[in-house]
Amino acid sequence: MNFSRLRIPRITFWRAVVAVFMILGVYALFVRYTRGLGASSHMTDLFPWGLWIGFDLLCGVGLAAGGFTICAAVYIFNVERFRPIIRPTILTSFLGYLLVITALLVDLGRPYRIWHALVMWNPHSVMFEVAWCVMLYTTVLALEFSPIVFEKFKLEGPLKIIHKISIPLVILGVILSTLHQSSLGSLYLIMPTKLHPLWYSPILPIFFFVSAVAVGLCMTIFESYLSNRAFKKKLEMDLLADLGKIAVVVLAVLLVLKVQDLQYRHVWRYLFQPTQEAFLYWIEVTMGIIVPMVLLMFRKVRYHSFGLFASALLVLLGFVMNRLNVSITGMTRGSMTTYFPSFLEIMVTVMIVSLGFVIFSQASRFFPIFADSKEPVGTASELPVPEADRSESFANRPSYARSRH
């Protein structure tokens, strides 16, 4: 190792902030593992699932939905022009799932028994399905990410193998994702008398799936915009604007489903009661679905980098609000209690989120992630890979858009 290349990192504002979050997070973990869940969280017997399930698990999995959405578009539907964003999206999803598992290890009462779900089966439990989906899909994501690692270390043998199985792998990933996103909604199907009627619906799994697709697209826009600012990469505006356009359609479907669901269950009256739930529902649907949907209908907004980013951000916030409403705010009245996360619970979550940002930025410096970075990546014309690999690789196939030019 060349020690002369090791330098003390410069202290910048964000690095200082992240360092503080990490220290507080590690302290929170220390309290949690030495003194138990009771000392570190505000969870109670009447409210056993708090922020770690509501945000870290439900939102974490949802925000990682970009992976299967973009993979399906490129590999299954053959929309070649989305190929340049596959790598950052897979990285986001893979990281997302690893962080979800980290959060689960914090939240589980006996984390060292996490493997029990693999050997002690109960197919009647949605949690059983969730456990298997987390495990299998994380494996699929690792395999989908592996070509990037193999490429970096020039391991041509494994690269060839992974390219051969890429299509079945993507299909498996799409199916597992669909099951997993929807199963997080199914978790709450068994709580009809706890969850507020504005959110409890027999089609909760469908809501969770459709909103995950929307948020997967918007997460891709969000992360491309931020990477652009952080790494001075050029924005692929045409491509991102197209994602925005697809998001409009998905949000519209979600909205129609929501309206039909309220109608079908005859629960309109809850919308006009002066309750906290009604207030939150209105904000969730207007700010998180209707406003960004209308904004993204305009070409001007879609092709304006900040306009597109802001609309995507609204979708993300609306999504987070929806998951928190289902898991926390919509659940307190039916549980006849109140809940607000403890400082330590929030610190663990903040630490996990900042870990995500840090690992993403470090990984994208180390591995060939972005299409126009200095590392060899992206289109075949730039890539020093063997001939055989050019056709069927995760990121090496010549972009359809480019070949047309």
């Binding site: 017997d45 053959n78 028994r113 439990s125 299909i171």
Partner: protein, 250 residues
């Protein structure tokens, strides 16, 4: 042959012998927790001038058993809903899902367990009655075959129709529970949840879970099909382009 308990609220005098017997039977520390806790499996709650025992309802088709991913909770064929702490990984889905909000957690332990009434499963397996039923001095808690207890409850209501509310709580709630209540004060005034569904809750998720194999089969076929069609389109395009460029050369 499923055992259960019949609790007659009109008879309870609030002496809390059942609580004490439960603590002794399960070797739980003496304390005066105001509600169910990890060390209090049953609690006599004061509701106005009535006393209402709170405990696991031992559902006929228990929500907790269906949601437990590792099968740590089981409904025994003789009635009690029991817990195997060696399987539990602490996801607390049972607690989140229980419509009666009964299971408790050892929040301050580094190796926490779920705690709740297990209907004295060892005693019941030996043919004995539960400790609480044995301890009750006034017969407010009776142990027996669930079907017999339902007949007994119906008899009592029939004999004194002016006294009892004409309802057995637990007869049809969440598809039926092992613990049954009868009362002279309406259940909603005693803190009972009266908004519960009449069918077993596990069906709500099983209706979705049971369709997963179908979904996987159809989904995989469809996705492979779409891939096959779209990639073929690419090939056709390529061939057309080649044909075109050949023409240009001529």
């Amino acid at each position: 042959m499923s055992k259960g308990l019949l609790i007659d609220i009109t008879k309870c005098i609030g002496c809390r012998s059942c609580e004490a017997a439960c603590k002794a039977q399960n070797k739980l520390p003496e304390n005066n927790d105001p509600d169910l806790t990890a060390t209090t499996y049953t609690k006599v709650m004061e509701r106005g001038d009535r006393f209402v025992r709170k405990m696991c309802m031992h559902c006929q088709n228990p929500t907790c058993v269906s949601v437990c991913p590792v099968g740590a909770l089981q409904k025994t064929n003789y009635g009690p809903v029991v817990y195997d702490e060696s399987k539990c990984m602490g996801c607390r889905y049972c607690m989140a899902a229980c419509p009666f909000q009964v299971p408790r957690y050892e929040w301050s332990s580094a190796f926490p367990r779920v705690r709740k009434c297990i209907m004295c499963k060892d005693r019941v397996a030996q043919g004995l009655q539960t400790a609480c039923a044995e301890a009750c001095p006034v017969g407010a808690t009776t142990f027996g075959e669930r079907d017999d207890l339902i007949h007994e409850a119906q008899d009592r209501i029939r004999q004194e129709p002016g006294k009892y509310v004409n309802q057995i709580y637990g007869f049809s709630e969440v598809g039926g529970t092992g613990v049954l209540f009868i009362t002279d004060v309406p259940f909603e005034k005693l803190g009972f949840r009266t908004d519960l569904l009449k069918e077993p809750y596990p069906m709500l998720t099983w209706n979705v879970l049971s369709k997963i194999p179908n979904f996987v089969g159809v989904g995989a076929t469809l996705l492979f099909g779409i891939w096959w069609i779209t990639s073929r389109r690419e090939e056709v395009k390529k061939e057309e382009a080649e044909a075109l460029s050949k023409k240009d050369k001529h």
